[in-house]
Symmetry: C2
Subunit: 258 residues, 2 copies
């Protein structure tokens, strides 16, 4: 019996990787990840066996990680961000559940000890770079309809609007999807003003980071790609400028007491 | 001009503190925090000047941090979790905004260089300890009505229910508040089944951690205190048991492809 570490490596800056994650990487002989993330870990990765499965092979990656660990190899299943947020952790437990129900033929998976190590998610990296965009109740919505019916996503955008939540959109666009983000904008415009501030953060905390603060009315999917996080403020969020430094914050309500 | 670091120290386990945060603590001469968090940082804190303002004096803490930094002292404003999530970061920018508007008399605050360093929030610590409770779209709602009208909170609980979001409740109860969590439970029972799994996580990642997985129908504010995070699954979340190990995961939808 050995251990499977299921871990998120944060947005990119190695200075945001939890020491527990770094320690686990060191213990593990086998690293399973999408290659791009392995590149980010460059200097840490000497002497490790890489299992680099491409985007789209998430199920294969989770199966392989469980199987390697069951064979006695200390294994790390790695994602960027927080592996518990729109990433691979849930798939490990979905596979475990299938095995418990007898729908898989891998009883050895049930002997694997699993430890999940959280990481800094893109919404948090974005919030920190612009100040405090997530300063009050917020939600996350993935705009990818690969696994989730569009009706469910649309319902959630409406609910997020009705609840006046700050919203972070994950998977805002892809090569094949470009209309969902503009649709989401149009839905939210039914609930909050066009001048609501929006953060567009690309390659957050990485060397080629680009951050723009715009408004909900001006938000356009053409300014967004797969490496981008979009956070829409709530009806009270503010964009302020101090000496050329732009900040976006969502007040908690202290101003009544100031 | 010197620097103010606005930083979250994660849920408690020092192995989850970002290296960037540890490095910033080391640079700073002055640490501003609620004393309980300073205790958690014990071994790191030698030779530092503590500014330990009690709970309830959040505004005083943010003012002091800006003022110390403006005086040339490298200063850390510290919270547990992620300082951008229900914590002090937003207050720093609210004060900056007030100064920009001329409602404060501290022009020196505008010269302070501010860097926000994110941390692992309680919802993430909880998710990692039970598996993958945040595996699909989720939201956070603070049940504290000290700064937010109860009508707004109630509206958000309804919206979270209507959107079938996984929900993490921050500030679920306090010494003076005990009915809000049970009210939230009753609202959510209008939208999702009584057997929806719920995580109750107390003192997450700390030596006296206690975690219970229960159901929405059984959730009771009596089992919850100020050191507790409550996460309610969505209508598809599952509680599974493998060899006495309990897990709570929210599927992303891969099962259709398994």
């Amino acid at each position: 019996m050995t251990k499977l570490f299921v871990m998120g490596m944060g947005p990119g800056d190695l200075g945001l990787v939890a020491p527990n994650a770094t320690k686990a990487l060191d213990i593990c002989t086998d690293w399973v990840a999408y290659g791009y993330y392995l590149e980010l870990l460059g200097e840490l990765s000497q002497g490790k066996t890489f299992h680099d499965l491409p985007l789209g092979e998430e199920i294969g990656r989770a199966r392989l990680a469980l199987t390697l660990a069951a064979k006695g190899k200390p294994t790390a299943l790695i994602s960027s961000g927080d592996i518990g947020i729109y990433a691979m952790a849930t798939l490990v437990f979905e596979l475990l559940d299938q095995q418990l129900q007898g729908n898989e033929n891998h009883p050895e998976w049930l002997d694997v000890e699993i430890e999940v190590i959280p990481g800094i998610s893109a919404m948090q990296a974005g919030a920190s770079r612009v100040g405090a965009s997530l300063g009050h109740d917020f939600c996350t919505v993935s705009l990818s309809d690969l696994l989730t019916p569009w009706e469910t996503i649309d319902k959630r955008i409406h609910a997020a609007g009705a609840g006046d939540f700050v919203i972070s959109f994950y998977n805002p666009v892809s090569k094949k999807r470009d209309w969902q983000l503009n649709h989401a904008r149009d839905v939210l415009l039914q609930y909050r003003p066009a001048n609501t501030p929006v953060m567009i953060g690309r390659q957050l905390t990485r060397p080629d980071e680009e951050i723009t603060i715009t408004t909900l009315g001006e938000l356009d999917a053409n300014a967004v790609d797969m490496f981008t996080m979009v956070t829409v403020g709530n009806s009270e969020s503010k964009h302020i400028v101090n000496k050329d430094q732009h900040w976006l914050y969502t007040p908690r309500g202290y101003s009544k007491k100031l």
